[in-house]
Every structure is written in C-alpha cells, then in structure tokens.
C-alpha cells in the first residue's frame, strides 16, 4: 500500500522534506511509518500526528491511500 507522509514546521526543516510517499506490504501504524521514514529513530514524545487531517495516536492504524502527518506542538493564535 501507498501512504503520503507529511512533515510541518521545525520538524519539516529537521527532516529536510515536507512530503514523502512510502510503500509497504505490512499493516501500518503511525509509529511504524515514523520508524520507516526516520530509519528507526525514536519518535519524540512531543511530536503530534494526524491521519487524514485528524489528530491520531502512535498506535493508530493506517490504510492504503491515507495521508499521515507529523508535526511539533502548535503555536497559533
């Protein structure tokens, strides 16, 4: 399956990419996607996640065609 992975703000700058397409045959979660994209680096506890533009937890299952985003704590307003 194919997943669209996005990064925002300081995390986007650290990763050096805003958008990555990943392919996988395994069943996936947010945590597994992070591990795959970041070469098994631990997922920092302050990093937030969204699946299809809804906040999600690390263990949230991800389906083919989903959009998964990782970003730092929000600072709007």
């Amino acid at each position: 399956m194919s997943i669209d992975v996005k990064f925002f703000a300081s995390l986007r700058e650290q990763i050096g990419k805003s958008d990555i397409q990943i392919e996988s045959t395994d069943s996936l979660t947010c945590a597994k996607i992070w591990a795959q994209v970041c070469n098994n680096a631990p997922l920092p506890s302050h990093i937030l996640m969204a699946v299809n533009k809804e906040y999600a937890v690390q263990s949230a299952p991800v389906q083919d065609g989903d959009e998964v985003a990782f970003f730092p704590p929000v600072t709007g307003g």
Partner: protein, 139 residues
Amino acid sequence: MKIDITSNKFNPWIQLQTFEKNIIALHGKCGAVATFVGTMRDEGNTVQTMFLEHYPGMTEKYLQTFSETALQRWDILDTLIIHRVGEIQPGETIVLVAAWAKHRDSAFEACRFLIDTLKSRAPFWKRETLNDGIKWVEK
C-alpha cells in the same frame, strides 16, 4: 459561521463591521458580542518579522469543528474566526475570534473556548526572524 485563513493583512474592527452588516440573521437578535484579537507584539529589535505556517485542509477542518462545537455547547447565534498565515510584521493582527449571543455569559464563554482550543489544537506554527537568525516558537 465564518472561518478565514488568510495571507493578507487585516484590520479586525473592519472585519467585524463588515461581518455584522452582512449577517442579517444577527440584526435585532444579538444582545452580546465577545471578541478576542491577538496581535504580534514589537519586541524592540529582537524579532523582525514572523512567519505563520499551517496545515492546509486540517487547520480549516479543526476551526470548523471548534465553531460547530461552540454553537452546540452554548446558546450563541454565530461565530467568526480569521487567522493570518505567511509573513507578518510587528503590530499586525494574527487572529480574530468573535461570538454573537443573546446574553453575555454565552458570548464570553464561547469566545474564550474558541481562542483556547485554537491555540492548543489548531495546526499553526510560528517562526520568528530574529536579528541573529531564524527560530521556531516553542510552547
């Protein structure tokens, strides 16, 4: 109910005037309006400009959800949220939030709820351009 994420500079009071003029449903019905305006302060020379990033699609969706929740939870008539994105200069308005109601308690509580949830949950990020480089604002 209006939500606007804009890269254009805006004056909150002109926006409120225009919104009230156009929303006929508020005329005569509204007894109380509570508003909140957030502005970029001028920290002397330390911060030159600010850049506001957001997650297109998700930010709008969440602002919409917050507004719908406010309309369900309190006896209010309407809500307005305008938020700047992109490059912004000291003194400029970052955010405007407003709630129209029959009575003041609901207006205040809904307005407070909107800005508090916006600040804690809406995907916006601030980056400051300082004299000595660029720095993401951290919580």
